[in-house]
Structure formats: structure tokens, C-alpha cells
């Protein structure tokens, strides 16, 4: 499943104003970044998971965490090998492999990455891209042009993949061995598809622009949007709670 795909729902998280969600995610990330304690980072990850369980997004949050663990693991190894503070823990001959400082900062960084990425990715699970952009145009007065670029880019991702699969299937039907296990052979087969794929995408973008133009794209103003995205009491509570979270993580 696409990690950034929207998951429809009626939970309290879904119902928040998209601008609130974005701001709350940003503040949550700030809380993760300013803290220097591994326990706070772990606490923040658990808190996010618990919130998700209550919002009915538990499965999604767990699978995201699992995916992020891979990224966290990679960062852990890099930090471990490159941070040289503290006393050496493992030595082979005179070569120091890693130190206490390395272990500490590697753990902190990988936890921090998971703690910051998790809410960001969940934002996409509980918010339609169009709602996010619509609310930003309506509430933050971001020019519609930019919001349209972002939504269009997101819209093109599935189009692009399905087009790619179509070409791949067509080639398979002609006997090209796309299902080969050999990664180098596969890359060799995919590269020639890049240009036609790019060309057909550019054509699609051009036709889309044409369609937007004849439907009055250039006439649009901030007030045109049909949906209103009003703020509610829940939005205030949500932001207040994340601010409290920042204070706690700064103090601990």
C-alpha cells in the first residue's frame, strides 16, 4: 500500500481543520527536535501510537513505524561509525569501531527520526491533499496557483505508476522478461522506458493545463473556494496540547 495514501475515517483526528493538523504536526516535530533525551523521544513515539490507536489508525501507524525502523536503523549505523566522542567501546587492534558517545547519539538520532517522521506521514493518512491545500488557500491565503501545483503533483503519482505498469505489461506481452530476478538486467530494461514515460506525462500535464484554462483557472480568487474549513474548539485544544508537549520535552 502507498504509505502516503489517504485513509478515510470519522475520528477526532480526521475532523480537525487541515491547517490545525499541519500546525500540530509541525509543533509535535519541534517537541521531538528540541528534546535531548532518548526517553522523551521514545515517549513521543508511544504517545503518537496511542493517539493513533484511539483514532482507529493503529494498524497504519504500526506499519509506518515498522517502515521507519529501517530508516532509523540505517541512521543508527551511520552515527555509530562516525561519532567519535566518549570512551571506546569496541576496538579491533588499535582501530576504534565505536564509542559510548556514538551509541548514545546514534540511539537519540534514530529515535528522533522516527518520532518526527511518524506524525508527518500520518498527516497524509488523515488529510486529503485537496483539503489541505484548500484550507491553506482559504485560511492562510496561500495563492491558489501553488496549492494547485502541489495537488496536481500528488495526483500524478498514481497516474505515473499506472502508466508505467501499462507499458511494462505491454512489453511483457511481447516477451520482454520484466519479471527477471537480476536487478541489473531489470534496470537495463527499465531505462529505455523512461523517455516515453516522461513524454506521455508531459503531454498529460499539457492537456490538464489546457483543461484548467478553459475552465477559468486564471479567474480564481481566494474567496472562490466552495468549502470553508472553519476552525472549531477542538482545533484550539489540539494546538494547546502540542504547545504543552513542547514545554514538557524542553524541561525534561
Amino acid at each position: 500500500m502507498n504509505l502516503l495514501q489517504y485513509q478515510p475515517g470519522e475520528s477526532f483526528l480526521h475532523k480537525l481543520n487541515p491547517v490545525t493538523k499541519l500546525l500540530a504536526v509541525f509543533l509535535y516535530c519541534v517537541a521531538c527536535i528540541i528534546s535531548d533525551s532518548i526517553f522523551v523521544e521514545l515517549g513521543l513515539i508511544f504517545l503518537m501510537l496511542i493517539i493513533c490507536f484511539f483514532a482507529g489508525l493503529g494498524k497504519r501507524a504500526l506499519s509506518l513505524t515498522k517502515n521507519l525502523l529501517i530508516l532509523g536503523g540505517m541512521m543508527f549505523i551511520l552515527q555509530l561509525l562516525f561519532v567519535r566522542t566518549g570512551t571506546p567501546l569496541l576496538k579491533i587492534g588499535s582501530l576504534c569501531i565505536f564509542t559510548t558517545g556514538g551509541v548514545f547519539s546514534a540511539l537519540l538520532l534514530s529515535c528522533r527520526i522516527i518520532a518526527t517522521m511518524l506524525p508527518m506521514m500520518l498527516l497524509f493518512a488523515i488529510t486529503q491533499m485537496t483539503d489541505l491545500c484548500g484550507a491553506m488557500v482559504k485560511r492562510l491565503h496561500i495563492p491558489y496557483r501553488y496549492a494547485f501545483i502541489v495537488t496536481t503533483a500528488f495526483r500524478f503519482v498514481p497516474l505515473f505508476t499506472s502508466e508505467f505498469h501499462d507499458i511494462e505489461d505491454a512489453q511483457k506481452a511481447r516477451g520482454v522478461e520484466y519479471d527477471t530476478k537480476n536487478i541489473f538486467k531489470k534496470i537495463g530494461l527499465v531505462v529505455p522506458l523512461v523517455v516515453p514515460l516522461l513524454m506521455s506525462s508531459l503531454k498529460k500535464v499539457d492537456a490538464g493545463a489546457m483543461s484548467a484554462e478553459v475552465r477559468g483557472f486564471n479567474l480564481r480568487t481566494v474567496r472562490s473556494g466552495y468549502r470553508d474549513y472553519p476552525f472549531a474548539a477542538g482545533d484550539g485544544v489540539c494546538i494547546a496540547l502540542t504547545v504543552v508537549l513542547i514545554i514538557i520535552s524542553a524541561l525534561l
Binding site: 485537496t130 490538464g208 483543461s211 484554462e213 475552465r215 477559468g216 479567474l219 466552495y226
Partner: protein, 283 residues
């Protein structure tokens, strides 16, 4: 009103003219069907109505095209879009949103339709095309026919005076095709909309449109009432366009001396003809 005056157009990348020497007038409230082989210039003709030619496609533009008295060269497409709504042939690439409801809202929002009016029109087009259950669906998850209905709904929601559709039933099953033409007829008769539709299904055109244009190699080779195609069967055969089978049957029965009435144009008339012939034969 749409006026073409000795209009010709050649795309920048091509040697031949896509349209040549087009002179005609389409009155307000007309229901016009356009048929012709691929490459005959049908889509190019529809592009000129919405100002995409010359504003989006470069090329050599001769003569003039006026829509409601506005020269399409002089006014921008968004100005023309206030009276002309066009459904393009390529359904996928004309979508601008990822959700059905947003797609339909897009045009109305852009033109600044008052918000209570938007809600009313949204409901009305969803019901008109029978796609209310698709309202919250992702467009990428729809079938071709469903997308086609969404594309048509998005244009109808803008409530244009002139509705241009390029093969609007290409992905649709026969029942839905008839539904679309029924909607177009209603818009034409009840609301006085001008409807211009490119269509390959000759039977639908004969049944619904008032005026039929046949195009070949960038020219209009026939322009008349759909009943007149009875006299044009050789022309159609020459171009490789099917004539309705009921017309063919009528002509064959007439040629065989079995039938002497008017050539039928739709199934009801054909049924009457067959009954008459059978009664004469004493069956």
C-alpha cells in the same frame, strides 16, 4: 451564435491544413452533430470554439471564428469559457482533481458562482448523470465510463450557453450513451443551450441532432438536416462512414419495389415500415 468565416488552420508541426476553408454559422439553440473519420479535423474544430486554438496550440490561423460576436483570436480562453464549455476527447488528461466532487466544483469555483448556487448545481448534475454514489470517490479508481460521466458533469455544472462535446460516449455502454443524448436534448430543448457534439455513432446523431456536419480531410463535405442523409448514402459509403442500418434496409426495400414510403431514420419508423411491407406481402 458561432460564425466561421473562411477559416483555415494548420498546426505548427504539420504540413497539411487540419481545417480548410470553413465558412458556416451555428445559430443559438442549435443541436449540431459532427461526424467524420479520424484525422478529419473534428477535434480541431471543437478546439477553435473554446479558444484553445489559437491560444494553446501554435499554428497558422486564417480567416476568423467568432463566438457570441467575440473574435476567438482577440479574447482569452477564460473569457470564452464563460459561454463555451468543452468536454475533451481524452478523458483522463482533462481531469484536474483527484476526487469527483472537486472535479465538478473546479469550474464553478473558478467562475465565482455564489456558494449556495454551487451546492444546488452540484446536486443537480450529480442526479442528472446518475453519479451521486461516486461523489467522494477517487477519480483514479473509476472506470472509463464513470470518468466520462464525471467529465460531462463538470462541464454541465458550469452551465455554459454553448456545450461542446468531443466523442462523449466513446467509453460508454449503449444505455448510458442514450442517457447522455437524452440529457443533451433536454438541455437543448428546455434550456435553449447550443449543443455541438462530435460522435461516431451515426444512429444516435440521426435520432437526436437537428443539423449534421460530415467532415473529411479538414473540410465540411455535408451540412444539412439529419433526415437528408437518406440522399447522401453514396457520400457516406465513399467516406467509409456507416449509415444507419434502418436507412440501408429502407433503401434496399425501396429498390426491390417492396416499399414506397419515406425512408425510416429510427427504430420506430423502421418497425412501421417492416409491418407495412409484411402486410402488403400478406404475411
Amino acid at each position: 451564435m458561432i460564425q466561421f468565416e473562411d477559416f483555415s488552420f494548420r498546426y505548427k508541426s504539420s504540413e497539411a491544413f487540419a481545417l480548410q476553408g470553413i465558412s458556416m454559422t451555428i445559430e443559438n439553440g442549435a443541436f449540431v452533430g459532427i461526424i467524420g473519420n479520424s484525422g478529419a479535423g473534428k477535434s480541431t474544430l471543437t478546439y477553435t470554439l473554446s479558444g484553445i486554438i489559437p491560444h494553446h496550440f501554435d499554428g497558422d490561423f486564417y480567416g476568423s471564428v467568432k463566438v457570441n460576436g467575440l473574435d476567438t483570436v482577440e479574447v482569452k480562453p477564460e473569457k470564452l469559457a464563460q459561454f463555451v464549455g468543452e468536454v475533451f476527447q481524452d478523458i483522463d488528461s482533462q481531469m484536474v482533481s483527484s476526487i469527483v466532487e472537486d472535479e465538478i466544483l473546479f469550474g464553478m469555483e473558478n467562475f465565482g458562482v455564489p456558494h449556495d448556487e454551487i451546492g444546488r448545481r452540484l446536486d443537480s448534475v450529480l442526479d442528472m448523470l446518475g453519479i451521486r454514489d461516486l461523489k467522494d470517490r477517487q477519480i483514479s479508481s473509476l472506470s472509463g465510463g464513470q470518468k466520462q460521466k464525471v467529465a460531462i458533469a463538470a462541464i454541465l455544472a458550469m452551465d455554459p450557453e454553448i456545450i461542446v462535446l468531443d466523442e462523449p460516449t466513446g467509453e460508454l455502454d449503449p444505455a448510458s450513451s442514450i442517457m447522455i443524448f437524452d440529457i443533451l436534448r433536454r438541455l437543448n430543448r428546455e434550456f435553449g443551450k447550443t449543443v455541438i457534439v462530435v460522435e461516431q455513432k451515426i444512429m444516435l446523431l440521426c435520432e437526436y441532432v437537428d443539423r449534421l456536419l460530415v467532415m473529411d480531410a479538414g473540410k465540411i463535405v455535408f451540412d444539412g438536416r439529419s433526415e437528408e442523409i437518406v440522399q447522401q448514402v453514396p457520400l457516406f459509403k465513399n467516406l467509409g462512414i456507416n449509415v444507419p442500418r434502418v436507412v440501408e434496409l429502407g433503401q434496399q426495400l425501396t429498390a426491390a419495389g417492396l416499399y414506397h414510403g419515406a425512408i425510416p431514420l429510427d427504430l420506430d419508423q423502421a418497425e412501421k415500415m417492416v409491418k407495412e411491407v409484411l402486410a402488403d406481402a400478406g404475411v
